[in-house]
Protein backbone atom coordinates (compact mmCIF):
# COMPACT_ATOMS: atom_id res chain seq x y z
CA UNK A 1 0.00 0.00 0.00
CA UNK A 2 1.63 3.21 -1.06
CA UNK A 3 0.40 5.43 1.79
CA UNK A 4 2.51 8.51 1.97
CA UNK A 5 5.19 8.08 4.65
CA UNK A 6 3.45 10.74 6.76
CA UNK A 7 0.18 8.82 6.84
CA UNK A 8 2.02 5.61 7.71
CA UNK A 9 3.78 7.48 10.50
CA UNK A 10 0.51 8.79 11.95
CA UNK A 11 -1.33 5.47 11.88
CA UNK A 12 1.68 3.70 13.47
CA UNK A 13 1.67 1.18 10.59
CA UNK A 14 5.27 0.11 11.22
CA UNK A 15 4.67 -0.53 14.92
CA UNK A 16 1.53 -2.56 14.20
CA UNK A 17 3.41 -4.69 11.64
CA UNK A 18 5.99 -5.53 14.30
CA UNK A 19 3.21 -6.36 16.80
CA UNK A 20 1.55 -8.66 14.26
CA UNK A 21 4.78 -10.67 13.93
CA UNK A 22 5.19 -11.25 17.65
CA UNK A 23 1.47 -11.96 18.07
CA UNK A 24 1.27 -14.82 15.67
CA UNK A 25 4.22 -16.59 17.29
CA UNK A 26 2.35 -17.03 20.55
CA UNK A 27 0.67 -20.34 19.78
CA UNK A 28 2.38 -23.04 21.86
CA UNK A 29 3.04 -25.06 18.69
CA UNK A 30 5.66 -22.48 17.67
CA UNK A 31 7.72 -22.94 20.84
CA UNK A 32 10.90 -24.85 20.13
CA UNK A 33 12.23 -25.38 23.66
CA UNK A 34 13.21 -28.96 24.48
CA UNK A 35 12.63 -30.03 28.06
CA UNK A 36 16.08 -31.58 28.21
CA UNK A 37 16.01 -34.45 30.64
CA UNK A 38 12.72 -35.74 29.20
CA UNK A 39 12.97 -34.80 25.51
CA UNK A 40 16.41 -35.91 24.23
CA UNK A 41 17.86 -33.96 21.27
CA UNK A 42 18.37 -35.98 18.09
CA UNK A 43 22.11 -36.60 17.52
CA UNK A 44 23.23 -37.36 14.00
CA UNK A 45 25.32 -40.26 12.83
CA UNK A 46 28.64 -38.43 12.28
CA UNK A 47 28.55 -36.65 15.66
CA UNK A 48 31.99 -36.48 17.35
CA UNK A 49 31.41 -37.14 21.05
CA UNK A 50 32.75 -39.49 23.70
CA UNK A 51 35.78 -41.53 22.41
CA UNK A 52 35.48 -45.31 22.51
CA UNK A 53 37.99 -48.15 22.05
CA UNK A 54 36.37 -50.84 19.92
CA UNK A 55 37.12 -54.50 20.49
CA UNK A 56 36.92 -57.40 18.12
CA UNK A 57 33.24 -58.62 18.33
CA UNK A 58 33.98 -62.34 18.28
CA UNK A 59 37.35 -62.68 20.04
CA UNK A 60 36.57 -59.90 22.52
CA UNK A 61 40.11 -58.45 22.77
CA UNK A 62 40.83 -54.88 21.77
CA UNK A 63 41.43 -53.96 18.14
CA UNK A 64 44.22 -51.63 19.13
CA UNK A 65 47.65 -52.75 17.85
CA UNK A 66 49.58 -50.00 19.74
CA UNK A 67 50.77 -48.35 16.51
CA UNK A 68 50.79 -44.98 18.32
CA UNK A 69 49.52 -43.12 15.25
CA UNK A 70 46.68 -41.59 17.24
CA UNK A 71 49.05 -40.29 19.92
CA UNK A 72 51.13 -38.61 17.22
CA UNK A 73 48.15 -37.19 15.36
CA UNK A 74 46.53 -35.57 18.39
CA UNK A 75 47.27 -31.80 18.54
CA UNK A 76 46.97 -31.79 22.33
CA UNK A 77 49.09 -34.96 22.81
CA UNK A 78 46.60 -36.30 25.34
CA UNK A 79 46.69 -39.97 24.30
CA UNK A 80 49.38 -42.20 25.85
CA UNK A 81 49.45 -45.85 24.76
CA UNK A 82 51.85 -48.35 26.34
CA UNK A 83 52.12 -51.87 25.08
CA UNK A 84 54.70 -54.57 24.92
CA UNK A 85 55.30 -57.44 22.48
CA UNK A 86 53.67 -60.73 23.44
CA UNK A 87 56.35 -63.27 22.47
CA UNK A 88 53.71 -66.00 21.80
CA UNK A 89 51.55 -64.22 19.26
CA UNK A 90 54.37 -61.94 18.04
CA UNK A 91 51.89 -59.05 18.29
CA UNK A 92 51.77 -56.11 20.66
CA UNK A 93 49.21 -56.04 23.46
CA UNK A 94 47.94 -52.93 25.17
CA UNK A 95 49.28 -52.49 28.70
CA UNK A 96 47.83 -49.09 29.50
CA UNK A 97 45.73 -46.67 27.43
CA UNK A 98 45.08 -43.17 28.89
CA UNK A 99 42.96 -40.47 27.26
CA UNK A 100 42.83 -37.04 28.93
CA UNK A 101 39.22 -35.98 28.20
CA UNK A 102 39.62 -32.62 29.95
CA UNK A 103 41.93 -31.31 27.19
CA UNK A 104 40.27 -33.03 24.25
CA UNK A 105 38.65 -30.71 21.65
CA UNK A 106 36.89 -33.49 19.73
CA UNK A 107 38.57 -32.60 16.43
CA UNK A 108 38.48 -36.25 15.32
CA UNK A 109 42.09 -36.34 14.08
CA UNK A 110 42.85 -39.37 16.29
CA UNK A 111 39.93 -41.36 14.91
CA UNK A 112 41.06 -40.50 11.35
CA UNK A 113 44.66 -41.53 12.03
CA UNK A 114 43.77 -44.88 13.62
CA UNK A 115 44.78 -47.59 11.15
CA UNK A 116 42.51 -50.35 12.56
CA UNK A 117 39.60 -47.99 13.47
CA UNK A 118 39.86 -49.16 17.06
CA UNK A 119 39.45 -45.57 18.31
CA UNK A 120 36.12 -43.97 17.38
CA UNK A 121 34.19 -40.87 18.53
CA UNK A 122 30.68 -41.99 19.45
CA UNK A 123 27.46 -39.96 19.61
CA UNK A 124 27.40 -39.74 23.40
CA UNK A 125 27.53 -36.13 24.59
CA UNK A 126 26.88 -36.49 28.31
CA UNK A 127 30.40 -36.46 29.73
CA UNK A 128 30.00 -34.17 32.73
CA UNK A 129 31.95 -35.22 35.82
CA UNK A 130 32.54 -33.83 39.29
CA UNK A 131 36.32 -34.09 39.43
CA UNK A 132 39.09 -33.23 37.03
CA UNK A 133 40.91 -36.48 37.79
CA UNK A 134 37.88 -38.41 36.60
CA UNK A 135 38.56 -36.92 33.17
CA UNK A 136 41.65 -39.14 32.61
CA UNK A 137 39.95 -42.15 31.00
CA UNK A 138 41.65 -45.52 31.21
CA UNK A 139 41.14 -48.45 28.88
CA UNK A 140 38.15 -49.87 30.77
CA UNK A 141 36.31 -46.52 30.78
CA UNK A 142 37.05 -46.14 27.06
CA UNK A 143 35.74 -49.54 26.12
CA UNK A 144 32.52 -49.70 28.03
CA UNK A 145 31.85 -45.97 28.29
CA UNK A 146 31.47 -43.95 31.45
CA UNK A 147 28.58 -44.73 33.73
CA UNK A 148 26.75 -41.50 34.83
CA UNK A 149 27.97 -40.24 38.21
CA UNK A 150 25.17 -39.88 40.78
CA UNK A 151 25.34 -36.56 42.61
CA UNK A 152 26.13 -37.37 46.24
CA UNK A 153 26.30 -34.53 48.68
Amino acid sequence: MSLTPLLRKIFLVDLIKGLKVTFHYQSPSEAITEQYPLERPIVYERFRGQPRLNSNPDSGESLCIVCNLCALACPEQLIVVKGERNPATKRKEVVSWTYDLSRCMFCGLCAEACSTDALELTQDYEMALYSREGMILDQAALECGQEPVRYAK
Binding site: D14, L15, K20, V43, Y44, E45, A73, P75, G108
Partner: protein
Amino acid sequence: MTDTKDRTAYLDLDTKDETFLDATELVINMGPQHPSTHGVLRVILKLDGEKVLGTECVIGYLHRGVEKIGENRTYAMFNPYVDRMDYVASVSNGLGYCETVEKLLNVEAPPRAQYLRVILTELCRIASHQVWLGTHALDIGALTPLFYCFRDREEILKIFEKYCGARLTTHAFRIGGCLYEAYDGFEQDCKKFCDFFLPKLDEYEELLTTNRIWVERTKGVGILKPEDCIALGVTGPVLRASGVKWDLRKRQPYESYKDFDFDVPTGQNGDTYDRYLVRIEEMRQAVRIIRQASDRLPQGPIMAKVPKVIKPAVGEVYHSIEAPKGELGYFIVSDGSTQPYRVRVRPPSFVNLQALDKMVRGLLVADVVAVIGTLDIVLGEVDR
Protein backbone atom coordinates in the same frame (compact mmCIF):
# COMPACT_ATOMS: atom_id res chain seq x y z
CA MET B 1 11.25 11.67 7.05
CA THR B 2 14.88 10.58 7.39
CA ASP B 3 17.32 13.34 6.63
CA THR B 4 20.83 12.16 6.08
CA LYS B 5 22.62 15.24 7.46
CA ASP B 6 24.99 14.46 10.30
CA ARG B 7 22.57 13.94 13.17
CA THR B 8 25.11 14.62 15.88
CA ALA B 9 25.71 18.21 14.73
CA TYR B 10 23.37 19.57 17.35
CA LEU B 11 25.53 18.01 20.03
CA ASP B 12 27.86 21.03 19.58
CA LEU B 13 30.81 18.87 20.50
CA ASP B 14 34.00 20.80 21.10
CA THR B 15 36.67 18.24 21.90
CA LYS B 16 39.07 20.05 24.18
CA ASP B 17 42.61 19.81 22.91
CA GLU B 18 44.40 19.78 26.24
CA THR B 19 43.75 16.46 27.95
CA PHE B 20 43.48 17.93 31.43
CA LEU B 21 40.66 16.06 33.22
CA ASP B 22 38.39 18.95 34.26
CA ALA B 23 35.45 18.54 36.55
CA THR B 24 32.84 17.83 33.92
CA GLU B 25 34.75 14.87 32.43
CA LEU B 26 33.93 11.40 33.72
CA VAL B 27 36.07 8.37 32.90
CA ILE B 28 34.00 5.21 32.97
CA ASN B 29 34.96 1.59 32.35
CA MET B 30 32.65 -0.38 30.10
CA GLY B 31 33.54 -4.06 30.35
CA PRO B 32 35.29 -6.42 30.38
CA GLN B 33 32.23 -8.04 31.98
CA HIS B 34 29.61 -5.97 30.21
CA PRO B 35 26.55 -7.60 28.64
CA SER B 36 26.87 -5.76 25.36
CA THR B 37 30.56 -5.90 24.54
CA HIS B 38 30.22 -9.23 22.73
CA GLY B 39 32.90 -10.87 24.83
CA VAL B 40 35.75 -9.65 26.99
CA LEU B 41 36.36 -6.19 25.57
CA ARG B 42 36.99 -3.29 27.93
CA VAL B 43 36.22 0.19 26.58
CA ILE B 44 37.41 3.14 28.65
CA LEU B 45 34.97 5.97 27.89
CA LYS B 46 35.82 9.59 28.49
CA LEU B 47 32.44 11.25 28.95
CA ASP B 48 31.35 14.85 29.16
CA GLY B 49 27.97 14.25 30.78
CA GLU B 50 26.36 11.88 28.26
CA LYS B 51 28.55 12.79 25.29
CA VAL B 52 31.50 10.54 24.52
CA LEU B 53 34.70 12.54 24.11
CA GLY B 54 37.02 9.64 23.43
CA THR B 55 37.38 5.90 23.89
CA GLU B 56 40.27 3.53 24.42
CA CYS B 57 39.89 -0.20 23.89
CA VAL B 58 41.74 -2.56 26.20
CA ILE B 59 41.87 -6.04 24.64
CA GLY B 60 43.86 -9.19 25.22
CA TYR B 61 41.68 -10.82 27.85
CA LEU B 62 41.03 -13.77 25.49
CA HIS B 63 44.59 -13.99 24.07
CA ARG B 64 45.44 -17.72 23.73
CA GLY B 65 48.54 -17.36 21.55
CA VAL B 66 47.14 -19.13 18.51
CA GLU B 67 50.10 -18.00 16.38
CA LYS B 68 52.63 -19.44 18.85
CA ILE B 69 50.69 -22.72 18.91
CA GLY B 70 50.79 -22.69 15.10
CA GLU B 71 54.56 -22.82 15.19
CA ASN B 72 54.53 -25.98 17.31
CA ARG B 73 51.96 -28.03 15.46
CA THR B 74 52.11 -29.65 12.05
CA TYR B 75 49.96 -28.20 9.27
CA ALA B 76 47.14 -30.73 9.68
CA MET B 77 47.13 -30.45 13.48
CA PHE B 78 46.74 -26.66 13.48
CA ASN B 79 43.46 -26.88 11.58
CA PRO B 80 41.18 -27.35 14.67
CA TYR B 81 42.80 -24.38 16.47
CA VAL B 82 41.83 -22.08 13.63
CA ASP B 83 38.11 -22.78 14.31
CA ARG B 84 38.51 -21.32 17.80
CA MET B 85 39.42 -17.84 16.62
CA ASP B 86 36.15 -16.52 15.17
CA TYR B 87 34.05 -19.17 16.91
CA VAL B 88 30.87 -17.81 15.36
CA ALA B 89 32.07 -18.33 11.76
CA SER B 90 34.47 -21.24 12.32
CA VAL B 91 33.91 -22.79 8.88
CA SER B 92 35.30 -19.74 7.05
CA ASN B 93 38.36 -19.67 9.34
CA GLY B 94 39.07 -23.26 8.34
CA LEU B 95 38.52 -22.44 4.66
CA GLY B 96 41.04 -19.56 4.82
CA TYR B 97 43.70 -21.69 6.48
CA CYS B 98 43.27 -24.72 4.20
CA GLU B 99 43.35 -22.54 1.09
CA THR B 100 46.55 -20.80 2.17
CA VAL B 101 48.31 -24.12 2.78
CA GLU B 102 47.01 -25.45 -0.54
CA LYS B 103 48.47 -22.38 -2.23
CA LEU B 104 51.76 -23.10 -0.43
CA LEU B 105 51.65 -26.70 -1.70
CA ASN B 106 50.62 -25.45 -5.14
CA VAL B 107 47.62 -27.79 -5.04
CA GLU B 108 44.04 -27.09 -6.17
CA ALA B 109 41.01 -28.69 -4.49
CA PRO B 110 38.83 -30.70 -6.92
CA PRO B 111 35.62 -28.99 -8.18
CA ARG B 112 33.25 -31.05 -6.02
CA ALA B 113 35.21 -30.12 -2.89
CA GLN B 114 35.20 -26.46 -3.98
CA TYR B 115 31.41 -26.44 -4.38
CA LEU B 116 30.94 -28.17 -0.98
CA ARG B 117 33.24 -25.61 0.59
CA VAL B 118 31.32 -22.68 -0.96
CA ILE B 119 27.97 -24.05 0.29
CA LEU B 120 29.24 -24.56 3.83
CA THR B 121 31.00 -21.18 3.96
CA GLU B 122 27.88 -19.35 2.78
CA LEU B 123 25.78 -21.23 5.37
CA CYS B 124 28.30 -20.16 7.98
CA ARG B 125 28.07 -16.56 6.73
CA ILE B 126 24.30 -16.62 7.28
CA ALA B 127 24.79 -18.15 10.75
CA SER B 128 27.33 -15.47 11.66
CA HIS B 129 25.05 -12.66 10.43
CA GLN B 130 22.17 -14.16 12.43
CA VAL B 131 24.20 -14.09 15.65
CA TRP B 132 25.12 -10.49 14.81
CA LEU B 133 21.49 -9.47 14.18
CA GLY B 134 20.25 -11.16 17.36
CA THR B 135 22.79 -9.59 19.68
CA HIS B 136 22.73 -6.19 17.91
CA ALA B 137 18.92 -5.96 18.26
CA LEU B 138 19.18 -7.12 21.88
CA ASP B 139 21.62 -4.30 22.65
CA ILE B 140 19.21 -1.76 21.21
CA GLY B 141 16.38 -3.22 23.26
CA ALA B 142 14.40 -5.47 20.89
CA LEU B 143 14.29 -8.77 22.78
CA THR B 144 12.55 -11.06 20.30
CA PRO B 145 14.69 -11.01 17.11
CA LEU B 146 17.41 -12.83 19.09
CA PHE B 147 15.22 -15.88 19.54
CA TYR B 148 13.96 -15.88 15.94
CA CYS B 149 17.57 -15.65 14.66
CA PHE B 150 18.74 -18.51 16.87
CA ARG B 151 15.81 -20.70 15.86
CA ASP B 152 16.75 -20.29 12.19
CA ARG B 153 20.46 -20.70 12.97
CA GLU B 154 19.60 -24.06 14.56
CA GLU B 155 18.72 -25.39 11.09
CA ILE B 156 22.18 -24.43 9.80
CA LEU B 157 23.88 -26.05 12.78
CA LYS B 158 21.91 -29.24 12.11
CA ILE B 159 23.30 -29.31 8.57
CA PHE B 160 26.84 -28.83 9.94
CA GLU B 161 26.30 -31.61 12.49
CA LYS B 162 24.97 -33.98 9.84
CA TYR B 163 27.88 -33.15 7.52
CA CYS B 164 30.95 -33.08 9.76
CA GLY B 165 29.83 -34.10 13.23
CA ALA B 166 30.26 -30.79 15.11
CA ARG B 167 27.97 -27.73 15.31
CA LEU B 168 30.14 -24.78 16.27
CA THR B 169 33.87 -25.66 15.95
CA THR B 170 33.31 -27.74 12.88
CA HIS B 171 36.85 -28.64 11.65
CA ALA B 172 35.01 -29.44 8.43
CA PHE B 173 37.78 -29.03 5.85
CA ARG B 174 41.15 -30.66 5.44
CA ILE B 175 44.16 -29.35 3.51
CA GLY B 176 43.55 -30.39 -0.10
CA GLY B 177 39.74 -30.59 -0.06
CA CYS B 178 37.04 -32.02 2.18
CA LEU B 179 37.37 -35.16 4.23
CA TYR B 180 33.68 -35.96 4.56
CA GLU B 181 31.61 -36.89 1.52
CA ALA B 182 28.29 -35.00 1.39
CA TYR B 183 25.76 -37.18 3.18
CA ASP B 184 22.87 -38.24 0.90
CA GLY B 185 20.17 -35.59 1.07
CA PHE B 186 22.72 -32.79 1.57
CA GLU B 187 21.47 -30.78 -1.40
CA GLN B 188 17.82 -31.27 -0.40
CA ASP B 189 18.62 -30.07 3.13
CA CYS B 190 20.32 -26.95 1.81
CA LYS B 191 17.44 -26.19 -0.56
CA LYS B 192 14.89 -26.86 2.19
CA PHE B 193 16.80 -24.43 4.43
CA CYS B 194 16.82 -21.76 1.69
CA ASP B 195 13.05 -22.02 1.21
CA PHE B 196 12.52 -22.02 5.00
CA PHE B 197 14.81 -19.05 5.63
CA LEU B 198 13.72 -16.38 3.13
CA PRO B 199 10.23 -15.76 4.60
CA LYS B 200 11.81 -15.68 8.06
CA LEU B 201 14.24 -13.01 6.83
CA ASP B 202 11.24 -10.93 5.67
CA GLU B 203 9.87 -11.27 9.21
CA TYR B 204 13.07 -9.83 10.71
CA GLU B 205 12.67 -6.93 8.26
CA GLU B 206 9.04 -6.45 9.28
CA LEU B 207 10.06 -6.33 12.91
CA LEU B 208 12.95 -3.92 12.51
CA THR B 209 13.59 -2.26 9.16
CA THR B 210 10.64 0.15 9.15
CA ASN B 211 10.22 0.29 12.93
CA ARG B 212 10.53 3.99 13.75
CA ILE B 213 12.31 3.38 17.06
CA TRP B 214 14.88 1.17 15.31
CA VAL B 215 15.38 3.72 12.54
CA GLU B 216 15.72 6.51 15.09
CA ARG B 217 18.31 4.52 17.07
CA THR B 218 20.41 3.53 14.07
CA LYS B 219 20.13 6.19 11.36
CA GLY B 220 23.02 8.61 11.41
CA VAL B 221 24.73 6.81 14.30
CA GLY B 222 28.41 5.85 13.99
CA ILE B 223 29.03 7.36 10.56
CA LEU B 224 32.24 6.20 8.83
CA LYS B 225 33.23 7.97 5.61
CA PRO B 226 34.71 5.83 2.79
CA GLU B 227 38.16 7.41 2.96
CA ASP B 228 38.28 6.82 6.73
CA CYS B 229 37.34 3.19 6.12
CA ILE B 230 40.23 2.68 3.70
CA ALA B 231 42.70 4.54 5.92
CA LEU B 232 41.66 2.45 8.94
CA GLY B 233 41.83 -0.77 6.91
CA VAL B 234 38.21 -1.56 7.70
CA THR B 235 36.82 -4.33 5.48
CA GLY B 236 33.65 -6.36 5.07
CA PRO B 237 30.06 -5.13 5.51
CA VAL B 238 31.28 -2.03 7.38
CA LEU B 239 33.31 -0.95 4.33
CA ARG B 240 30.55 -1.81 1.87
CA ALA B 241 28.01 0.17 3.90
CA SER B 242 30.17 3.27 3.46
CA GLY B 243 29.74 2.96 -0.27
CA VAL B 244 32.94 1.16 -1.33
CA LYS B 245 31.88 -1.76 -3.57
CA TRP B 246 34.67 -4.19 -2.57
CA ASP B 247 34.20 -7.88 -1.94
CA LEU B 248 37.10 -10.33 -2.14
CA ARG B 249 34.79 -12.97 -3.60
CA LYS B 250 34.31 -10.69 -6.61
CA ARG B 251 37.59 -8.79 -6.84
CA GLN B 252 39.96 -11.75 -6.16
CA PRO B 253 37.74 -14.83 -6.63
CA TYR B 254 38.94 -17.90 -4.75
CA GLU B 255 37.36 -21.37 -4.57
CA SER B 256 34.62 -21.54 -7.19
CA TYR B 257 32.99 -18.18 -6.51
CA LYS B 258 33.53 -17.12 -10.11
CA ASP B 259 30.93 -19.73 -11.20
CA PHE B 260 28.07 -18.09 -9.26
CA ASP B 261 26.39 -14.77 -9.92
CA PHE B 262 25.52 -12.77 -6.85
CA ASP B 263 25.72 -9.03 -6.31
CA VAL B 264 27.54 -7.07 -3.61
CA PRO B 265 25.14 -4.85 -1.59
CA THR B 266 26.49 -1.40 -0.67
CA GLY B 267 25.14 1.46 1.44
CA GLN B 268 25.22 5.25 0.89
CA ASN B 269 26.07 7.09 4.08
CA GLY B 270 27.88 4.45 6.15
CA ASP B 271 25.75 4.64 9.31
CA THR B 272 24.49 1.81 11.53
CA TYR B 273 21.23 1.58 9.55
CA ASP B 274 23.10 1.05 6.26
CA ARG B 275 25.30 -1.62 7.81
CA TYR B 276 22.12 -3.36 9.01
CA LEU B 277 20.62 -3.22 5.50
CA VAL B 278 23.88 -4.43 3.89
CA ARG B 279 24.11 -7.48 6.14
CA ILE B 280 20.44 -8.38 5.67
CA GLU B 281 20.96 -8.15 1.88
CA GLU B 282 24.13 -10.24 2.20
CA MET B 283 22.11 -13.00 3.81
CA ARG B 284 19.80 -12.98 0.79
CA GLN B 285 22.77 -13.14 -1.59
CA ALA B 286 24.21 -16.05 0.40
CA VAL B 287 20.91 -17.91 -0.04
CA ARG B 288 21.17 -17.27 -3.80
CA ILE B 289 24.70 -18.71 -3.87
CA ILE B 290 23.69 -21.78 -1.86
CA ARG B 291 20.83 -22.46 -4.26
CA GLN B 292 23.06 -22.20 -7.35
CA ALA B 293 25.83 -24.27 -5.78
CA SER B 294 23.59 -27.08 -4.53
CA ASP B 295 21.89 -27.24 -7.97
CA ARG B 296 25.15 -27.64 -9.85
CA LEU B 297 27.11 -29.78 -7.33
CA PRO B 298 29.51 -31.71 -9.65
CA GLN B 299 30.44 -35.37 -9.10
CA GLY B 300 34.01 -36.48 -8.63
CA PRO B 301 36.72 -36.81 -5.99
CA ILE B 302 36.58 -34.59 -2.91
CA MET B 303 40.29 -34.68 -1.95
CA ALA B 304 43.24 -33.50 -4.04
CA LYS B 305 46.45 -35.60 -4.14
CA VAL B 306 48.14 -34.31 -0.97
CA PRO B 307 50.93 -36.29 0.72
CA LYS B 308 50.02 -37.81 4.07
CA VAL B 309 52.79 -35.80 5.76
CA ILE B 310 52.52 -32.20 4.50
CA LYS B 311 55.98 -30.68 3.99
CA PRO B 312 55.61 -27.62 1.73
CA ALA B 313 58.69 -26.20 0.01
CA VAL B 314 60.55 -23.37 1.66
CA GLY B 315 58.66 -20.10 1.03
CA GLU B 316 55.91 -17.82 2.28
CA VAL B 317 52.38 -17.08 1.11
CA TYR B 318 49.72 -14.51 2.03
CA HIS B 319 46.16 -15.45 1.10
CA SER B 320 42.90 -13.92 2.30
CA ILE B 321 39.21 -14.75 1.98
CA GLU B 322 36.00 -12.78 2.55
CA ALA B 323 34.97 -13.88 6.05
CA PRO B 324 31.55 -12.68 7.35
CA LYS B 325 33.35 -9.93 9.31
CA GLY B 326 35.77 -8.80 6.61
CA GLU B 327 39.07 -9.80 5.00
CA LEU B 328 40.53 -12.74 6.95
CA GLY B 329 44.16 -13.20 5.84
CA TYR B 330 46.76 -15.91 6.59
CA PHE B 331 50.50 -15.30 6.11
CA ILE B 332 52.30 -18.64 6.44
CA VAL B 333 56.09 -18.94 6.23
CA SER B 334 57.33 -22.47 5.62
CA ASP B 335 60.91 -23.61 6.17
CA GLY B 336 60.46 -27.02 4.53
CA SER B 337 59.71 -28.89 7.77
CA THR B 338 56.36 -30.38 8.73
CA GLN B 339 55.60 -27.43 11.05
CA PRO B 340 54.98 -23.90 9.79
CA TYR B 341 57.82 -21.54 10.71
CA ARG B 342 55.40 -18.63 11.24
CA VAL B 343 51.59 -18.40 11.03
CA ARG B 344 50.26 -14.86 10.98
CA VAL B 345 46.47 -14.32 11.00
CA ARG B 346 45.10 -10.97 9.83
CA PRO B 347 41.74 -10.87 11.72
CA PRO B 348 39.02 -8.52 10.37
CA SER B 349 37.49 -7.86 13.81
CA PHE B 350 40.84 -6.70 15.26
CA VAL B 351 41.31 -4.11 12.51
CA ASN B 352 37.62 -3.06 12.38
CA LEU B 353 37.65 -2.44 16.13
CA GLN B 354 40.18 0.36 15.56
CA ALA B 355 37.40 2.33 13.85
CA LEU B 356 35.34 2.36 17.07
CA ASP B 357 37.04 5.48 18.43
CA LYS B 358 36.48 7.51 15.27
CA MET B 359 32.83 6.38 14.94
CA VAL B 360 31.81 6.95 18.55
CA ARG B 361 33.27 10.39 19.17
CA GLY B 362 30.43 12.84 19.94
CA LEU B 363 27.71 10.21 20.32
CA LEU B 364 25.88 9.31 23.51
CA VAL B 365 26.61 6.37 25.78
CA ALA B 366 23.63 4.42 24.45
CA ASP B 367 25.11 4.70 20.94
CA VAL B 368 28.45 3.21 21.98
CA VAL B 369 26.53 -0.02 22.59
CA ALA B 370 24.86 0.22 19.18
CA VAL B 371 28.19 0.93 17.40
CA ILE B 372 29.98 -2.00 19.07
CA GLY B 373 27.10 -4.16 17.90
CA THR B 374 27.23 -2.88 14.33
CA LEU B 375 30.98 -3.49 14.06
CA ASP B 376 30.16 -7.19 14.61
CA ILE B 377 33.38 -8.00 16.46
CA VAL B 378 34.11 -11.39 18.01
CA LEU B 379 36.70 -11.17 20.78
CA GLY B 380 38.11 -14.64 20.06
CA GLU B 381 39.30 -13.25 16.73
CA VAL B 382 40.40 -9.87 18.09
CA ASP B 383 42.66 -11.38 20.78
CA ARG B 384 43.67 -14.63 18.94
